[in-house]
């Protein structure tokens, strides 16, 4: 299919981008990698008058890993994250998750910030950022503000972004030396959105798991942190943590059916993945 006609602008600076977004308001959409937006245009699910392509704005792409946090520019592609050795060492969860995003051609174009701003609840990055307690850097004409990923996702494709605001970067506190990560998802075909997936982190201490974090994708309108399951698993050896988290998970997740999978099957699969992820975190 072909998109409805639209105007196109490619600002060279954030200031120019803000001008355009202000002038056109709701009629403008921000274009980055275009891997979701262009598809929705082609399906005619969306018909913005203007696309503001931010890929020429300098300084929005790149990965920087410091001692206690990593900073990932909004325009950094999925593929760049997947292949970054620095990130692979500091935040192995991200490389594990990146492999599940679409196909290589999609990962070469799609962006980290774009995925977060799109806020698809079945996407990988929102769940990862929730698990990692990342902070999004949001820019507007008046300056910058920061918002925790755990507070950023408000509903189905809804975020904390106000009109005229852009995600410019994400800062992720490093969970520390010795932490382990496990990202697992179940998709019918390679590259499909997952039926359900989990981003799990913990720091093994002896036989037990500490600082357990579990965030899920594909189980509701937003990525879902699972505080009850996390609390149940905390401080237990992996096998015990798995059983306890599985038993507590009902209090955290209320998945709805999707086209192919019933709510009950989704809940079952979430429990299965919880067990597998926590066992994979065992030292």
């Amino acid at each position: 299919m072909k998109p409805p006609s639209f105007a196109y602008a490619r600002p060279g600076s954030l200031a120019e981008a803000f001008d355009l977004l202000e002038r056109h308001g709701e009629d403008a959409k921000v274009l980055a990698g275009g891997q979701s937006l262009i598809a929705t245009l082609n399906m005619r699910l969306s018909s913005p008058a203007l696309l503001v392509d931010i890929t020429a704005v300098p300084g929005l792409a790149g990965i920087a890993v410091a001692k206690d946090k990593a900073r990932i520019g909004a325009l950094t592609t999925h593929r760049a994250i997947e292949r970054s050795a620095e990130l692979g060492a500091a935040l192995p969860l991200l490389a594990q998750a990146a492999r599940h995003i679409g196909h290589v051609a999609i990962r070469n174009l799609g962006t980290f910030g774009g995925s977060l701003a799109m806020a698809d609840p079945a996407a990988e990055w929102p769940a990862c950022c929730v698990a990692l307690d990342a902070e999004l850097v949001v820019a507007r004409r008046a300056g910058e503000r920061r918002v925790r990923a755990r507070e950023f996702f408000k509903g189905l494709y809804e975020t904390d972004l106000a009109p005229g605001e852009l995600v410019t970067a994400v800062e992720i506190p490093l969970p520390g030396r010795g932490h382990r990560a496990s990202f697992i998802e179940l998709a019918r075909r390679v590259g499909d959105y997952a039926i359900v997936g989990v981003a799990a982190l913990a720091r093994p201490k002896g036989e037990t798991l500490e600082d357990v974090r579990l965030a899920y994708l594909g189980v509701g309108p937003t990525p879902a942190l699972a505080p009850h399951a996390m609390a149940a698993a905390e401080g237990k050896p992996a096998a015990g943590a798995a059983a306890a988290a599985q038993a507590a998970l009902d209090r955290d997740l209320k998945p709805a059916a999707d086209l192919h999978t019933s709510a009950a099957a989704k809940m079952h699969l979430a429990r299965v993945l919880t067990g597998r992820a926590l066992r994979a975190l065992a030292p």
């Binding site: 299919m1 075909r189 590259g191 086209l259 999978t261 099957a265």
Partner: protein
């Protein structure tokens, strides 16, 4: 009319009669079609509307459906709810089949081939590979407010074979016999042909079920796989092996449509013309849908006449140019169109040698054509390049004997008539691993041994089989048109309608037994649908073989994780 279709002459007739235009004023041109799979053999309302608007406006009108429009209006297929029963003796001999098929076809029967054919095929073909004396089949066709269903690659076969093979496996399990052994006991013996003993009336010229079974079991190393399966089960790994024997309707005679009153050609023609330069132009009524028809026609014509492939040009898909023919459906292209090309090629070769004999004042019987040249039959010594023969025949016929007229354009037609259909046979095997916690099925490997008679182009034949198997796997594991309770299609896009993709496909090993049909000189049967016919049954049997120790069984396709988990009682 530029049209993406499988049957240009049928469409010429349809457009002419329904729009009140003399048939000779309608020319349907169908360039290369990148896949059609039966979907493009039907008459669609939007195509008729496009042609009607063009007539009314006296202007060219173009219509291209977008993806959603295609999903909503291209035919759907294979909505069946079937109960099948099998009776067999304690010793393991099949006595009879009994089935009751409820099939939904949408709001009306698609023109002009009707939507009843699919159910009809299910009823006709169930039990087809196996000896049996008793047969009862019932079919109810119901209208629904969903999209129409109609003929789609392997029409009815995937359902019939999956039913047959599921109940055959069940019977083998009930009497405690290995499923391969049970098949060996019941497949029609290779020396029982022509076989006309079926109560349903199917007639088989010659099939090779047992050769195929033996070859398959050796190819897959069946015994070793069974041993490995047993060992892995002890470690909690649930692998399953599924077998599916099959028969396939190919090279249909006029019994398919013509007898029923549909103006759809069962015969096909080929015209071969030797050009003055020694090139050969081949024109045939069968169309190129991406399956390589043009390629095999070039091969057949080149060898029949005595040319190298680079001298042959093939034209198909133009009612203004080619002989009248049926087009591409029911695996008829190679067997029917190919035979017409072969017969035309043999006749042209003879005619060329008449010209050569006249030019050379030689005995025709002493001449032959090899590598674009007329040669001595005995010594293969070059006598006359075809380019020179063409020059003389077309531009200097004055130099030939006074009463001699060269005939360097030849047309021949072919209609299969001895049998209603030229059946092929084969057998497939699938190896899967089921994750009982997630309900996910991983395809590990797939095998197919198939008998399409003469193999003209091994690479094309193998890839027809592989592509067909992938399509069958799609039915078994992925594809399903989902509707809401209000009759709204819910997954009319390529993200939500899951077609099989390479990431999930197993290696597919293909081998052949060749039993040429004696009805034609070429001996080719069809091959386009065999893969699709057998794969769903093989995969479903493999899944159920894996689930058997867990007391679970799936009977609905596709076998989604949700359905497998329900079968396991986990949700």
């Amino acid at each position: 009319m530029y049209h993406s279709t499988q049957a240009p002459h049928m469409m010429q007739d349809v457009f002419a009669r329904h729009l009140g235009i003399p048939e000779a004023n309608v020319r349907v041109v169908c360039k290369d079609v990148g896949g059609s799979f039966g979907i493009k053999v039907h008459v669609y309302a939007d195509e008729m509307a496009t042609a009607a608007i063009s007539v009314m406006l006296r202007r060219p009108v173009k219509f291209v459906a977008d993806r959603l429009e295609s999903f909503l209006t291209d035919i759907h297929a294979r909505e069946h709810d079937v109960t099948v029963r099998l009776a067999c003796t304690k010793a393991g001999d099949i006595v009879g089949f009994d089935l009751d098929d409820l099939t939904a076809i949408g709001p009306y029967s698609v023109y002009p081939r009707t939507s009843g054919i699919e159910g009809n095929q299910v009823v006709n073909l169930t039990g087809g590979p196996y000896r049996h004396k008793h047969y009862r089949a019932k079919m109810h066709v119901v209208f629904t407010n969903k999209n129409v269903t109609c003929q789609y690659r392997a029409v009815g076969h995937p359902i019939a074979m999956a039913l047959t093979e599921a109940i055959v496996d069940r019977a083998a399990a009930e009497i405690g016999m290995d499923p391969a052994e049970f098949r060996r006991r019941n497949l029609i013996p290779d020396d029982a042909y022509p076989y006309t003993a079926f109560p349903s009336g199917l007639k088989f010229e010659r099939l090779s079920h047992h050769q195929c079974l033996d070859k398959l079991l050796a190819l897959m190393d069946y015994r070793r796989l069974r041993a490995e399966q047993a060992a892995l089960r002890k470690q909690g790994v649930h692998r399953g092996i599924g077998l599916a024997a099959m028969i396939e309707v190919t090279n249909p005679s006029p019994a398919f449509y013509g007898v029923g009153g549909a103006r759809i050609s069962a015969q096909d023609g080929a015209t071969l013309r030797l050009e003055p330069t020694g090139m050969l132009t081949v024109m045939c009524g069968v169309t190129e849908q991406g399956q390589g028809t043009d390629g095999i026609f070039a091969q057949i014509a080149a060898s029949a006449v005595g040319l190298t492939l680079d001298k042959v040009r093939v034209i198909t898909g133009d009612t203004g140019v080619t002989p009248y023919g049926g087009g591409t459906w029911a695996s008829r292209g190679a067997g029917i169109g190919g035979e017409a090309v072969l017969q035309a090629g043999r006749a042209l070769r003879s005619n060329i040698l008449d010209v050569a004999a006249a030019i050379l004042s030689a005995d025709k019987a002493a001449l032959d054509i090899v590598g674009n040249e007329v040669v001595s039959r005995l010594t293969l010594e070059s006598k006359l390049p075809l380019a020179e023969l063409g020059r003389v025949a077309y531009f200097r016929p004055d130099t030939l004997p006074p009463k001699f007229q060269s005939e360097l354009t030849v047309t021949r037609h072919y209609t299969p008539r001895e049998y209603p259909f030229t059946f092929t046979n084969g057998i497939q095997a699938s190896l899967v691993e089921v994750d009982p916690d997630t309900g996910f099925v991983k395809l590990l490997k797939h095998w197919c041994v198939e008998d399409c008679g003469t193999v003209i182009n091994p690479m094309l034949v193998d890839e027809q089989i592989r592509g067909g198997i992938v399509q069958g796997i799609g039915a078994a594991l992925f594809e399903e048109c989902l509707y809401g309770p209000d009759g709204q299609l819910l997954n009319g896009n390529m993200a939500d309608y899951l077609v099989p993709m390479c990431g999930e496909m197993p290696d597919i090993v293909v081998a052949h037994v060749e039993t040429p049909t004696k009805q034609s000189a070429l001996g080719a049967k069809g091959v386009g649908e065999a893969g699709t016919a057998g794969a769903p049954g093989a995969v479903m049997n493999a899944i159920n073989d894996a689930l058997a120790p867990l007391g679970a069984r799936v009977t609905a396709q596709p076998a989604t994780p949700d359905r497998v988990l329900k079968a396991l009682g986990k949700v």
